[in-house]
């Protein structure tokens, strides 16, 4: 479930940047992509965050969990910039294309359609509730770790998660296209 740290080789300019990029970039990009639902937005978010983190890396590196702090920076940028980022979602394949795909590929396509439906429900959640679900079910963080990322208490994290699950439980049952 957890998205691990990637070791994709990248070009190197400076030691600090090299360390940031080598250890954290791929994981942050995956997290930001799932958080925002858009690869381009994720690239811009992570780029901004790592440029700022690079300047302050000596301090950040001394923290117990720099990885959580970087996720906090990405999360805060996402939550506070969300309204200002003009992301044009690209949907070259309309629903009918997916439907045609479903006709020819059976169960796999059904899974894709179901994942898309669930994704739309996730997108409709309040931003902090969705963020908690991403951190919990994609990043595999504990509620204590999530509270560190969000700068809130574990009780608030549980509350966000509980409300999000309740919404999805209700919504999903009413919109599910078919049973397995």
């Amino acid at each position: 479930m957890t998205a691990g740290v990637d070791s994709t080789p990248v070009p190197v300019v400076e030691p600090e940047l090299d360390h940031l990029v080598r250890v954290h970039l791929a994981g942050l990009l995956r997290y930001a992509t799932v958080l925002t639902g858009d690869g381009h937005t994720a690239a811009d978010l992570v780029q901004e965050v790592l440029l700022r983190a690079h300047v302050r890396w000596n301090r950040i590196a001394l923290m117990a969990r720099p990885d959580l702090y970087l996720r906090r920076m990405v999360t805060n940028e996402h939550l506070s910039w969300r309204r200002r980022w003009h992301v044009r979602t690209i949907r070259p394949a309309a629903d009918e294309v997916l439907a045609a795909h479903a006709d020819s590929h059976g169960d796999h396509a059904h899974g894709v359609v179901e994942e898309d439906a669930m994704w739309r429900h996730l997108e409709a959640l309040p931003p902090r509730q969705r963020t908690v679900l991403v951190l919990r079910y994609y990043e595999g963080l504990s509620d204590a770790e999530i509270s560190e990322v969000l700068g809130t208490s574990p009780a608030t994290v549980r509350s966000h998660a509980s409300r999000a699950l309740a919404t999805l439980r209700d919504t999903d049952l009413t919109t599910r296209t078919e049973q397995r």
Partner: protein, 218 residues
């Protein structure tokens, strides 16, 4: 993490699958790393939109991915690898019928080339953004347009020292705001009250927190 009711297991499994289905859309780390290096080296950057999708969207994604792979491999050595990539990607997108540009809304390639071509740095962007109360993209667009119009932006190319002091103060204010337990909803309330943008609101509110003041929230 294991506080779900038993019948939530399938729901959680579906949530997890849906989230993981999106991580295929992530951009190439090598390309983003090179963009960061380009920013630090004050070399122009062009956002590269990622078209990777599943199902019927794979035609465009495949072409794009191979383009990016080539660009990523040569990115470290190239002075400005992104403009060419972006132009190719735009061409690919248009060839498959997408109305799409690599440039963000309100920021043209001409403005971008004028701005970075004049020798501005990322620190200059921040200085101009603070001065104009704009975000980074709008700042680069406005400065680029001034240059295209033959005018001079109020901060000269390379005029801002990259000491990071101001950034640290601002970041301390941001941290104080979140650590005090305020939420994004509080931020929006304050932004409306003060008529400020989110970043300025967060900095101002965080500074008040650091100063021991109470924020004007109900």
């Amino acid at each position: 993490m294991s506080t779900n009711r038993p019948h939530d297991d399938e729901l959680v499994a579906r949530i997890t699958r849906a989230l993981h289905s999106r991580d295929a859309d992530q951009p190439d780390p090598a390309v983003v790393a090179a963009r960061i290096q380009a920013e630090l080296a004050h070399v122009p950057d062009v956002p590269v939109r990622v078209l990777a999708r599943r199902g019927g969207r794979l035609v465009a994604a495949g072409v794009l991915t191979s383009t990016l792979a080539v660009a990523g491999a040569g990115a470290a050595a190239a002075a400005n690898p992104y403009s060419d990539v972006a132009r190719v990607v735009e061409g690919v997108a248009q060839s498959v019928g997408l109305e799409w540009s690599a440039m963000p809304d309100g920021y043209t390639r001409e403005q971008y080339e004028a701005f970075w071509g004049a020798g501005y740095t990322i620190d200059d962007v921040e200085a101009l953004a603070d001065l104009w109360h704009l975000d980074a993209t709008a700042t680069k667009a406005q400065a680029g347009q001034l240059l295209l119009d033959g005018q001079t932006p109020p901060v000269g190319p390379g005029a801002t020292a990259p000491d990071g002091t101001g950034s640290d103060q601002k970041q301390a204010a941001y941290d104080a705001f979140w650590e005090a337990g305020y939420t994004v909803e509080d931020l929006e309330t304050l932004a409306e009250l003060w008529g400020t943008d989110p970043m300025e609101t967060k900095a101002r509110a965080g500074q008040l927190v650091l100063d021991g003041e109470t924020l004007p929230l109900g």
